[in-house]
Every structure is written in structure tokens, then in C-alpha cells.
């Protein structure tokens, strides 16, 4: 049986992780390789690195980081942030990334999804969508929720699937940071409307939120950052709890 995946997300800038990470015995909390390895040891099924490097010139350091991660890590990982072309994606693929995620660049140029899928296969292309409720409608937002677009979230996701997205990473901006649980209603609606996997993001605060998510929706994976970084939820404990609820997990 296919397991539900648990995916810690790390923000990286200039090849270093940012935001505090609270592992007690880390030598260097900013070292993405050490962190990634630690999460892999604890049972993470996959990792996402979100590259927030500001300038194009510094992207080289990201490539070096991706290579170091790929050398050390024996689980798959995705890298997102700032990918605007097939050439950007190819450099990451050749450095060992299993998947890339695109967000704003795909909104501005939907053909990018198609080009990436044709060049590398749909399994390589994750579409990240940030959604926020505006006057009762779920609308796609950019820049971490600051910029609204004219796209309705569910329409955009259907279009992206048709263009060749292989997976959807859906972040609810209304839930993100609240630690009050995932947006199960929207997530389930989206997961049932498409035929590709969905990663849920935004709102994880405690173990029950993950159980609720997997018991009440058809999503395939859950992504979270701070609850893992600050040690509020330990991966092995989370997996055990999910298993107790008969949710398929990898132990």
C-alpha cells in the first residue's frame, strides 16, 4: 500500500538554511546537509528545500548545496524557488534534485509547466500554489500571499494538471502559521478533483492535525516546517500515531 508521506520543509538562502532549527545536538543549525540527513534518519519520507536566495548571481551556491544534499541523502527531495526556465530546472536535476517546484513563474507563464513536463517528465514537476480566501472564493496568491492574482485556485490547479504538473503542493495562507490545522475542506476538494498527488501545507500545529488530514481527505502527503524545526512534533512519534489510526506510513 502506498504510504502517506511526511515532508519537512527547509528554507534556504545562499546555500544555508534560515530560520532557527532546534535539534539539540546539531553542530551547525544552518547546514542544509546536516539537517536533511537528520530528518532522513528520523523517518522523513521526502524533503522540500525552498530557495529564497534573492539574486540570480547567488544561485550557484544553491546548486552546490543541492549537490551536497544529493551526495548525502538517501531519500528524495524537491527544490523550489526562483525557477523560471527549463535551463534553471535542468541545472537542479543534474545536481541530483528529484523534483522541482514552480509557483509564480508558472502563473506568469503557464507554458512553463508544459515545457518542464516535456523536457523531464511530469514526475519532475511540482506546482506550488498559495491560496487565500477572498470574499468567499479561494484565489491564487503570489509572494507568500501578499499579491493576489485573478486565478481561482481550483481552476488553476485543473489547468496545471492538464498542462503537465505531476504533483500539487497546496498551501493555505489562511491556515499557514496559525497552527490550527490544515484546510481539510479545500484540500479534499482539490485532491478529489485531480488525478495527480496532492501535498497539503499550512496549519500544522499538533499531531492530531496530521491524523485529521489523512483521515478526512484524499491528500497524499503533508508538509510542515516549524513544528519539526522546533521539535514540537517528532517524526517517529508522528508516524507511530498515524499508524495507530490505520494510516499507511513508512516506519
Amino acid at each position: 500500500m502506498l504510504s502517506k508521506r511526511i515532508i519537512p520543509c527547509l528554507d534556504v538562502k545562499d546555500g544555508r538554511t534560515v530560520k532557527g532549527v532546534n535539534f539539540v545536538d546539531l553542530r551547525d543549525a544552518g547546514d542544509p546537509v546536516e539537517l536533511a540527513w537528520r530528518y532522513a534518519q528520523q523517518g522523513a519520507d521526502e524533503l522540500v528545500f525552498l530557495d529564497i536566495t534573492a539574486t540570480h548571481e547567488r544561485r550557484g551556491t544553491t546548486i552546490e548545496m543541492v549537490k551536497s544534499v544529493a551526495r548525502q541523502l538517501n531519500i528524495p527531495f524537491t527544490i523550489g524557488g526562483g525557477i523560471t526556465s527549463v535551463a534553471d530546472a535542468e541545472a537542479l536535476l543534474n545536481s541530483g534534485a528529484d523534483k522541482i517546484s514552480v509557483n509564480s513563474a508558472a502563473v506568469r507563464n503557464p507554458a512553463l509547466i508544459e515545457e518542464l513536463a516535456k523536457a523531464f517528465g511530469v514526475q519532475f514537476v511540482v506546482l506550488a500554489v498559495d491560496t487565500k480566501l477572498v470574499q468567499g472564493r479561494n484565489m491564487v496568491h503570489l509572494n507568500g500571499g501578499r499579491l493576489i492574482t485573478e486565478l481561482e485556485t481550483e481552476d488553476w490547479i485543473l489547468k496545471a494538471e492538464a498542462l503537465g504538473a505531476g504533483e500539487i503542493l497546496l498551501t493555505s495562507m489562511d491556515h499557514d502559521g496559525t497552527k490550527n490545522g490544515f484546510d481539510c475542506i479545500l484540500l479534499d476538494k482539490v485532491a478529489k478533483s485531480i488525478n495527480i498527488p496532492v501535498i497539503a501545507s499550512g496549519g500544522a500545529g499538533k499531531v492530531e492535525h496530521f491524523t485529521d488530514l489523512f483521515l478526512n481527505t484524499d491528500v497524499d502527503a503533508a508538509l510542515a516546517a516549524s513544528v519539526f524545526h522546533y521539535g514540537e512534533i517528532s517524526l517517529p512519534y508522528l508516524k507511530q500515531e498515524l499508524k495507530k489510526h490505520n494510516i499507511a506510513v513508512r516506519l
Binding site: 532522513a40 544529493a70 538517501n74 531519500i75 545536481s95 517528465g121 488525478n195 495527480i196 513508512r250
Partner: protein
């Protein structure tokens, strides 16, 4: 030493990294003459099976590979290349293992690609030595190898049972990515490197 067939289908950085972590030496095979330099051969592959087959044909390696007597392991699309035919691009494959590569049927209520960790039931062949039955491996694919009891050495379920591992003589194939499948995957690569001709 392991030789990796280098025919330009997909990235092999993760595979070579895994071999390095396991301290297994390897080299690249670009043409027929280089096949003799290695004791074990890996055929990697990501992407479109039909396109991969065309690229492999262009290297002139198809016929020499078919006559090999040493252990050969196809991974993912590399496994599909050793089957008879793939529905992806309606393409004839190398036909080393006479089974077909077929597209998952979304009518079975499954999402495609089959992406993530799934458990397998293996038949205790040398390739799976020391790997607990029911272990999980990382899969990412939209096409699968039809189950055939004669050649199946590991089975997984996704809408239907399919072959996660096949063997015919010295030819092996795995649909999952051992290089991304944690310690179980690393053990499988190690086991492969220990197979005798």
C-alpha cells in the same frame, strides 16, 4: 566494478552518489568496447521509455547488452527497457524479459504517477538478501511491468499487483529507485554488486 550505461536518459547523479556512499567503485559505459571493463552493469533511466529506447539504440549498445552473461540491473525506465514492449510511445524494448510495460489505468481509482513509498513482497532472491519482506521502496512512475509469476521477484500493489522486480537469468530490473529508498535501497545496490556471474 560497476559500469553504468551512459546513454543520456535522465540524471544519474543520485545513483553515483549512492554508489559512492556505499564505497562501490563505478565507471561509465559509452560504447560497446567499454562493457568488458566491468563485472556488473547498471542501466539507469528516467523519463519517457520510448525516447530512452531510441537513445539507447543510438549508442549501438542494444545487441551487445543482450548477449551479456554478467549481472545487469535496470532501474526504473532502465527496467522497462529490458521488457518486450512499452505502451509509452508504443515502443519495442530490448525484449530480454518477455513481459510488457503498461500504463496505469486511472479508472482503478489511483493517482498517476505512482509516487512515493510502497511496500513490496519479494521472493528471497540474492538481490533482496537481508531485506525484510514488506520493506518500503521509493517509486515514481506512470507505467508498470505486468505481473508474470515466471519472472517476478518482487511484487507491489497499486490498483493492481505489478512487478516491482523481475529477473531472467543474469538480467534484473527494479521499478523503484534503490538510490532513493533509504537503507533498504542501499542494501539492494550492495547485494547487486555481490552477485556472481
Amino acid at each position: 566494478m560497476i559500469g553504468i550505461v551512459n546513454y543520456g536518459a535522465g540524471n544519474i547523479f543520485s545513483l553515483t552518489s549512492a554508489l559512492e556512499r556505499l564505497h562501490l567503485p563505478y565507471g561509465m559505459i559509452n560504447e560497446e568496447g567499454e562493457l568488458d571493463k566491468y563485472t556488473h552493469i547498471i542501466i539507469p533511466g528516467v523519463g519517457h521509455a520510448g525516447a530512452a529506447m531510441r537513445k539507447l539504440e543510438q549508442t549501438g549498445l542494444v545487441e551487445p547488452i543482450k548477449t551479456l552473461k554478467k549481472p545487469v540491473l535496470g532501474i526504473c525506465v532502465g527496467m522497462q527497457l529490458i521488457t518486450s514492449h512499452s505502451e509509452e510511445g508504443d515502443a519495442n524494448m530490448m525484449n530480454i524479459v518477455p513481459v510488457r510495460t503498461r500504463l496505469f489505468d486511472k479508472e482503478l481509482g489511483i493517482k498517476i504517477p505512482h509516487m512515493g513509498w510502497n511496500n513490496i513482497r519479494h521472493k528471497n532472491t540474492s538481490l533482496f538478501e537481508g531485506i525484510e519482506n514488506g520493506s518500503q521502496f521509493y517509486f515514481v512512475h506512470s507505467y508498470f511491468i505486468e505481473y508474470n509469476p515466471i519472472f517476478d521477484i518482487a511484487t507491489a500493489d497499486y490498483g493492481l499487483p505489478f512487478s516491482a522486480g523481475v529477473q531472467k537469468g543474469n538480467f534484473y530490473g527494479v521499478q523503484f529507485h534503490p538510490e532513493k529508498s533509504g537503507t533498504a535501497g542501499e542494501r539492494l545496490l550492495k547485494n547487486f554488486s555481490n552477485l556472481k556471474e
